[in-house]
Symmetry: D2
């Protein structure tokens, strides 16, 4: 179950209703859900392909692109929230725990201001 | 701003504190954030590589794998929540709107029980 | 330079001519090329989304799908061959070397018949 | 069959020998191969994560990084060459055909010097 407040509970309900109206749950095993999340993540990335970092920032600042970006994010989240619900993950606990692990891999005194991967820190 | 309740607000605060303690905001432009989300999505997918659909379901059911799956999901979410916050996306509105668009691409009478892409429905 | 025989040399020439007619080399830095390869790899993966392993094998066996699969593979290769050429990689040496490294990570006596990742062998 | 000259034929032989010594062909259905290609493409992309376009060019120019880049490229190619062989794709024909299709989507007079996606040209 996703640990969430009432707005996100209703969002997850909409996602599941959409899936169940179409009898799609049978396709939504974890392997295919992970594929779907990956495919949608690539579609988000595609919005920034060939753009410089500055052009990417400008693209996001321009309100006329807001819907396009929102749509791609929504595609990722719809699959991700359902995956999380199917796998019984607690979002807050998971993130909190991972940040603690990352704090050890990337101690502030070594990692500050640099983007070096922890294997090379 | 992410539209969220107090628990997720505190999660986003932790994510931003982790980033800012390390002075990493300068790296977190939308293009690199989208790359990061995609890379982490592939790491989640890798948990299911070479597994059949049935083995994937069993993998997820087995409690000893819960932390590993949680960790990969947390990696995606940490970048995704920050991306959403940086781009000023409203998660609930975005998903609601995308489900409405998808309902037109995948009308129940045509899409029920089949996984055909809308371009071939 | 790609180590190749005359057919592949002519393929790389076509790829570079297509790029240079459109004055696109300026966009083809390694970061964006790696993004493009990843995005195209997701489009290939999408052909198999929601399909079981058996349905995937049948999809590939069916000649009417040959062009669709070919197209996605071509998209990946066009960017990958150019990336390889730009980075001066010798394909044969690179693969030979990596197979030798992999042989150590996956010794036959341990890896035979199982898909376990080397970190867990 | 991959249309290749003798060097690449011997590379494909090495790839298949490595696979068959380990009795791994049973895992190498098209769906999992496409997953593997995608996962390896993300690992290549990760070399450029958080780097600017200029830092990416410098990273590739620096000979000490050549092996690391080669390794990631080899990982993609090993799966891709086998996928191509399993699906009976002719690399040269596939790329030639796709470049012809792309020439229509991106006519020189419209596409020259710009990175706009064809849907928005």
């Amino acid at each position: 179950m996703i640990s969430m407040n009432k707005p996100f509970e209703s969002t997850l309900k909409k996602i599941k209703k959409f899936r169940d109206e179409r009898d799609w749950k049978k396709f939504h095993n974890p392997k295919d859900m992970a594929e779907a999340i990956s495919i949608e993540a690539s579609e988000l990335l595609e919005l920034f392909l060939w753009k410089t970092k500055e052009e990417s920032l400008a693209f996001v600042k321009n309100k006329k692109n807001h819907d396009e970006i929102s749509d791609e994010v929504a595609d990722i989240l719809a699959f991700l929230f359902e995956f999380i619900d199917n796998c019984d993950i607690d979002i807050e606990k998971a993130i909190k725990k991972k940040l603690q692990k990352n704090a050890k891999k990337y101690p502030v005194n070594k990692a500050k201001g640099v983007a070096t991967k922890y294997t090379k820190l």
